[in-house]
Symmetry: C2
Subunit: 151 residues, 2 copies
Amino acid sequence: MTASSDMPPFDLGSFTPYRLAVAAERTSEALARQYRQQFGISIPEWRVLVHLGQPLDGAATVSVRDIEERVAMEKSKVSRAASRLEASGYIEKTVDAGDRRLVRLALTDKGRALMADLMPLATAYQQRIETLLGETFAGLEAGLDAILDAE
Amino acid sequence: MTASSDMPPFDLGSFTPYRLAVAAERTSEALARQYRQQFGISIPEWRVLVHLGQPLDGAATVSVRDIEERVAMEKSKVSRAASRLEASGYIEKTVDAGDRRLVRLALTDKGRALMADLMPLATAYQQRIETLLGETFAGLEAGLDAILDAE
DNA sequence: CCAACCTCATTGCATATGCAACGAGGACAA
DNA sequence: TTGTCCTCGTTGCATATGCAATGAGGTTGG
């Protein structure tokens, strides 16, 4: 009769939030390292850049708030990432003429050149993951959809 | 001919590392908040506790290094989590008699009592996730296995 | 015995983070 | 117009993090 006999069995390795956290860390880490070492870009910065490279909404208005919503990051995280990107010359910040509370973010030429380097790496990495997972990839996607769409 | 026309299309929302990161954050957040508010326990502390509650290896030796390996956290993160848990009276640290470099961690009675409160929450949460996912759960698991087992 | 080399855990330091508070600007009703 | 209330972005602060360095202990070969 050990101490653990009083407790219901619980295996961290089977706990979905834990598994997701480790999987996320593993998959992000590999790419993030490349970005950091080769370009000095962090994950928050990368997310901002990707969003700026894809003004999906036709309109060119890309404010900090827009990014905050779509990229699942806190205001302050976006703000600081944007400041670093501006300091590095990859983006420009301008006050919106219509609503002067808004800060519009836009890639500079240097930023576009950076993206031209970054995108192929990301695309190739995605390809590697899909190849690694093979037929289990579709199942993973369905599961992630279920989690991400949940309200 | 906009700026983005020169770039290959890339959607962050379809990028697996990003999706995993958001899914991990969402699923961890909900439980972590409960733990934090009700018990003052952080995720690193929770991971250490769970491991201590499950001396799977029969042997009772649970060192910082053991946890570091199994719980996918850095040495320093484990060390600091353990110090906080000790300060709160949930665990005890003792120098291993055989190898005095090792620090053996063990739950105190207070720690076991805490676990008795924490475990049901975790189990119930896991259940909720599986219910939410329904038939997609198996697919998610298979995908996560593929990622986590990769080397 | 001891010198070189390894392992374990902690800690110092620079950076990153979340959260709340703030200041500036805008909307709207009286 | 002015007062109240809202929104946007930044920043201060306390805490958390990763990484390298440290120190204590162990091991091995000569």
